[in-house]
Subunit: 362 residues, 2 copies
Amino acid sequence: MNGPGISVEELQLAARNHGMPLEGLRYDITPAGLHYLLTHYDIPAGDPATWRLEIGGAVERSLELSIEDLRARPSATLAVTLECAGNGRARLDPRPISQPWLLEAVGTAEWTGTTLGPVLREAGASPDALEVRFDGLDRGVEHETEQAFQRSLSLGEAMRNDVLLVYAMNGSPLLPQHGAPLRLVVPGWYGFASVKWLRHIEVLTQPFEGYQQSHAYRMRYEEDEPGTPLSRIRPRSLMIPPGMPEFLTRTRILDPGPCLLEGRAWSGVAPIARVEVSLDGGTRWQDAGLDPLPTSAYAWRRWTFSWDAKPGEHELCCRATDAVGETQPLEPEWNVGGYANNAVQRLPVTVRARPDPPTMTS
Amino acid sequence: MNGPGISVEELQLAARNHGMPLEGLRYDITPAGLHYLLTHYDIPAGDPATWRLEIGGAVERSLELSIEDLRARPSATLAVTLECAGNGRARLDPRPISQPWLLEAVGTAEWTGTTLGPVLREAGASPDALEVRFDGLDRGVEHETEQAFQRSLSLGEAMRNDVLLVYAMNGSPLLPQHGAPLRLVVPGWYGFASVKWLRHIEVLTQPFEGYQQSHAYRMRYEEDEPGTPLSRIRPRSLMIPPGMPEFLTRTRILDPGPCLLEGRAWSGVAPIARVEVSLDGGTRWQDAGLDPLPTSAYAWRRWTFSWDAKPGEHELCCRATDAVGETQPLEPEWNVGGYANNAVQRLPVTVRARPDPPTMTS
């Protein structure tokens, strides 16, 4: 983290919106409660019994579907890695003021639901339909305007056969904080597209210009420029911190000898093709071993690297490259909103001399 | 929060250890993933298949129990409110440097396991047994010493018939971050006593003097004094923030008119006997309504208060008193470790004039 200490506003957000402790990278599927979570406003108290999903706007027939209606449709389950577009924000200098993520705003879940496309086909989008807007139940004030959380997708993106209306996560009913009773999951995109607490879908013939679309979640290098919209997740790899931590500083302490470094890598654009490890802060790089590609094209891929740890101080790094050749930068790319900072992870570790006699307590 | 902005060390802890967003007070039983979580070191990767609980030390016979052995014993389920002893720390001035909790380090779960007492009776504590020490699998460095997380209870406290060896939470297998495969739950005590990832129980004939017992979790008003050990949870009440939030500041905005304030109150010492609400920052207090006492003596109690909200700025407060007359103070009691700050919650809200015409977006 750079710049001044964080403010009470940022701390309030950090206390609400939790990341995945990096040892959570050991799980193919992130257990409930370890998956990252970002809530713009409050977690709403939806009542599944009275809740309905409305589909309206530029359609031949409006639909109103209960959760039972949605469960009765063909179901699909897909493992998807979701990452917050603001992951890495607190590593930028100066630090954009918002949720102060370090590196941990990620998780992989098995999402179960029904494909959105057939629901839209049933409603019958008008020939001049351009976009599909998704409205959450959650309301609040942002940029001085009261709003529900709303995002849109192009009609083509919304019709992708892997965009899901989701009612279950890791085989259990969706938890309140993950969008119960129903959420959208848009594989490959940063988390903002996967609207939680979904209550209404509007087919539009004009581009949606709400706050979350036209102001937030855009790459802007100057405050006043319109910027370009974020969409797909940039490649990133993260490492399980080896050894053990010091409580307060989270400094890592290891014994010398063989140490298996491991982590996960993902990209929303293309499969992960390469992960490299540096043991010297990013000067020299060596290839890590890659596990077979996961069954789902949108789930992270495990990597490993055998290290013979020698006593001393080391800065461990990892770097992912995807199949279209996009790779992680060594330095962050600063931008106004603090988005998409996928600079390589840098993890200082101390390999101690082997203790003799042991200094461990019982 | 007072004093300087928080440091990267505190932010690292805040990103790992998550609180319960206060709208989570609406649930009798906190859903998985919303319950607060404090992990001193890393979440260990226990393997339930090879994991065994050892019971040793000053006993007639050492025991080694698998998770199946424990599940085969008589089971008990108890709703328990757990709170971190450091809850409220970031509200102290100067702010003790550790996990910077504001108010949200609390949760109520239904814990299922088997009573510890009969297991200790089966092992046969020696006549001179004084304490029982509980060792977690989690290791790290704290106060310059490598250690597992370890805490002890007096033999009498350990033999209480509601102290549980827990393998399930809210009807599902214990999650990794909550102590899988087995944890202790000590109802009424701050969370530190409920040792997670339990692997060993040692019956002692001398007081345990490890770091977490003799240095941490003690009320000290000067750095150098030994202090007194923390144990039971002090009374506290919290309120669901009414209205809706502004994203960054979390300022609350309400429409005028009837507004049901509601929250929960708990004490580890005695049942909650009274909750009061102040609408003017703590000058005048009025009694809130109390729901019937929960079935479990250790679960929080719901309270409600009907408020006719008038336009303007208000500071809402709530204050709990338990059946032995202990009540929440208006101001925090500063101490070195930043523990047990149960000062009343203060929630500034803005009641806006009823909008005419509506300014809400669709």
